[in-house]
């Protein structure tokens, strides 16, 4: 894809953010290539919101550097026009009507696409005359998403976009969101504390846990590089070079290990099983938690 050579949508080097003594992000190095739908997953308090708020310039890093589409976040009006952001809990002006919000978007964004905005508002069944303060959580999310998208950004950032929706509505909403992003031809980053929210819609995954990126990459590459090894207890203590144990579980006479390997599986002399994305994410999260408890 031509996207692969272009400027990454996000590049972080040693990115650190502290709130007083609490460290929200600790030396994060991360590159997100253009043209992807990226899922940012991690438990509550992992630093997801902090990372996304840094990416749109609402927060300033304590140290380290962060470039979004090649510039400092929110550097200029032109740069703001290239990034759309839907904040957590999708804030809107309670006293403004839906139409007022579209007008706000039209007045404040030179690249505003009124036709797109109106079409989307009609599609999701919002009444333009309705006051935004009276909208349901889901309707508010749709409104906030429409405002962010109708300025036709190159990168759309969604912080927990489905949080206000009930479980039944979540999947439909997210699939619709991703179709919409594809229609815009934009890159997208969306965060969730639920892997199930994003594993169906994202082609790139970042696991953020304990203030650090545990693993990041294209979903299919991640699945190809991770395996479960099953062997008699003790056998897995010595593994060939290039095989990294993410998580080891001893179960009776057997050990099961989640490993990351560049070596093609057949060359490993154990039973090799594929892993699901959920196992992979849980493996990295448990490792991060175990490491966190070890240092305490």
């Amino acid at each position: 894809m031509s996207h692969e050579d272009s400027v990454p949508v996000l590049r972080a080097e040693g990115l650190t953010k502290r709130y007083g003594r609490r460290v929200a992000l600790n030396g994060v190095d991360l590159t997100i290539p253009a043209g992807r739908v990226v899922g940012l997953v991690g438990p509550n308090g992992a630093g997801k919101s902090t990372l996304l708020n840094l990416a749109c310039g609402l927060l300033e890093p304590t140290s380290g550097s962060l470039r979004v589409l090649g510039s400092r976040p929110a550097e200029s009006a032109a740069h703001l026009a290239r990034v759309g952001f839907v904040a957590q809990d999708t804030p809107v002006y309670p006293s403004f009507s839906v139409a007022d919000h579209l007008r706000l978007g039209a007045r404040l964004n030179p690249s505003w696409d009124q036709e797109l905005a109106e079409r989307r508002i009609a599609q999701v069944g919002l009444n333009p005359g309705q006051k935004a303060g009276r909208l349901s959580g889901g309707q508010r999310a749709q409104l906030a998403m429409t405002i962010a998208a109708a300025k036709r950004p190159e990168l759309l950032i969604f912080d927990e976009p489905a949080a206000a929706l009930d479980p039944l509505a979540r999947r439909g909403f997210l699939e619709n969101l991703v179709e919409f992003v594809a229609e815009l031809g934009a890159s997208a980053v969306l965060s969730s504390h639920l892997l199930s929210d994003i594993e169906r819609v994202c082609d790139h995954l970042i696991v953020l846990c304990a203030a650090q990126v545990q693993v990041a990459g294209k979903v299919q590459d991640l699945l190809a590089a991770h395996h479960r090894l099953v062997a008699p207890r003790g056998e897995l203590d010595r593994l060939p070079a290039g095989v990294e144990v993410v998580r080891m579980e001893n179960n009776g006479q057997y050990s099961r290990a989640l490993v990351r390997t560049d070596v093609p599986p057949p060359s490993i002399p154990y039973r090799v099983e594929p892993v699901t994305l959920e196992e992979l994410v849980l493996g990295y999260m448990s490792r991060a938690f175990a490491a966190g408890e070890g240092t305490r």
Partner: protein, 339 residues
């Protein structure tokens, strides 16, 4: 941005317009009434014996009303600071809409500059018009009372209120940005601005220009023209003097009564004159006491500003408020980048 400004500000603008209309109706009515009363007082002055009494009647008829109005309109900047300034950013932060509006294609600084310019201008227009109306209504009274430098009157006439309103609004905006919560920001803004408004007339205004100095000999006539003599602690002080030949001069400092060698008059001598003056049958406000004191060959040293400096003082004070506002704007523009 103009549309957004108007959309977010229209209710406050409407409330301000209604308030101003009510003030205008009352002040137009009062202004005509004062003019009629002034004409009546002037016509009574054809008879010189009646003139002084007519003048004091005219003055006392409107003194309290105008003082009350000046104090009331002086609260407009406080209300502007608390209700227009403090919520400007704090409210956005409180309901998180800053995350929406600061992610449109307008930089945060530009957003803030536009919002401050729009509401700040409205604040200056509102107080400017209210001040203009009061200045007009009170003009005949002010000409007679010659007290344009009065702590309350000075701040409620001509251009000074415009500077107050702008500073109050900018102060509120900055406090809101720093405190990030609307109600505490409103309270802090109100208190800080009120303290400022009570301090400036006493601590800053007298020193805006170097004052003139003079010495007044304490003759019976001058003592009888004073408003007060003595204090609750029995100190030898005199208050409410006028500079001879310049009744509209502003006396900013009056020394205690001093003897010919420059020392302060002893309390016992002063109280003797105050309590048991020798009977001489002298008339006037302080009667025998004035005669008794005048025999002691006393004087006071005063510092004053000539009345001709009135407009210089109005402009300097307004400029000072605008300059401080400018400084606060710079701080706000710096801070909002890291909000």
């Amino acid at each position: 941005m103009i549309w957004l400004n108007w959309r977010q500000f229209r209710l406050q603008a409407l409330a301000a317009a209604v308030g101003l209309a009510l003030i205008a109706v009352y002040l137009l009515y009062l202004g005509t009434e004062i003019r009629d009363a002034h004409d009546a007082y002037q016509s009574r002055c054809a008879d010189p014996g009646d003139c002084a009494q007519a003048k004091s009647q005219f003055q006392s008829a409107y003194q309290n009303t105008l003082l009350f109005l000046a104090g009331g309109l002086g609260l407009i900047p406080v209300v502007i600071g608390a209700f227009w300034g403090a919520p400007l950013i704090a409210r956005e932060l409180e309901i998180s809409t800053h995350r929406l509006v600061w992610n449109q294609s307008v930089t945060r600084r530009r957003w803030l500059i536009c919002r401050m310019a729009f509401v700040g201008l409205a604040a200056m227009i509102l107080t400017g018009l209210a001040s203009l109306l009061l200045t007009w209504a009170a003009a005949p009274y002010d000409a007679v009372a010659a007290d344009r430098f009065g702590a309350v009157e000075f701040g409620a006439r001509n251009v000074a209120p415009i500077g107050y309103a702008f500073l109050a609004f900018i102060l509120g905006t900055l406090v809101g940005l720093l405190v990030r919560r609307t109600l505490p920001a409103m309270a802090i803004t109100g208190v800080v601005f009120l303290v400022l408004q009570f301090s400036v007339p006493n601590l800053v205004r007298p020193y805006l220009m170097p004052s003139e100095k003079t010495t007044l000999p304490m003759t019976t006539q001058i003592i009888n023209e004073a408003r007060s003599l003595g204090s609750i602690t029995g100190a030898p002080v005199i208050g409410g003097l006028q500079v001879p030949g310049a009744p509209d001069a502003w006396i900013s400092e009056t020394s205690p009564l001093r003897t010919a060698d420059g020392r302060t008059l002893g309390d016992s001598k002063f109280n003797e004159c105050l309590d048991t003056p020798p009977k001489t049958g002298t008339g006037g406000t302080f009667g025998d006491t004035a005669a008794c004191l005048s025999k002691l060959n006393l004087h006071v040293d005063i510092k004053y500003q000539p009345g001709s400096r009135y407009w210089q003082f109005q402009l300097i004070e307004t400029g000072l408020y605008l300059a401080v506002s400018g400084l606060l704007i710079l701080i706000a523009l710096q801070r909002i980048r890291r909000a």
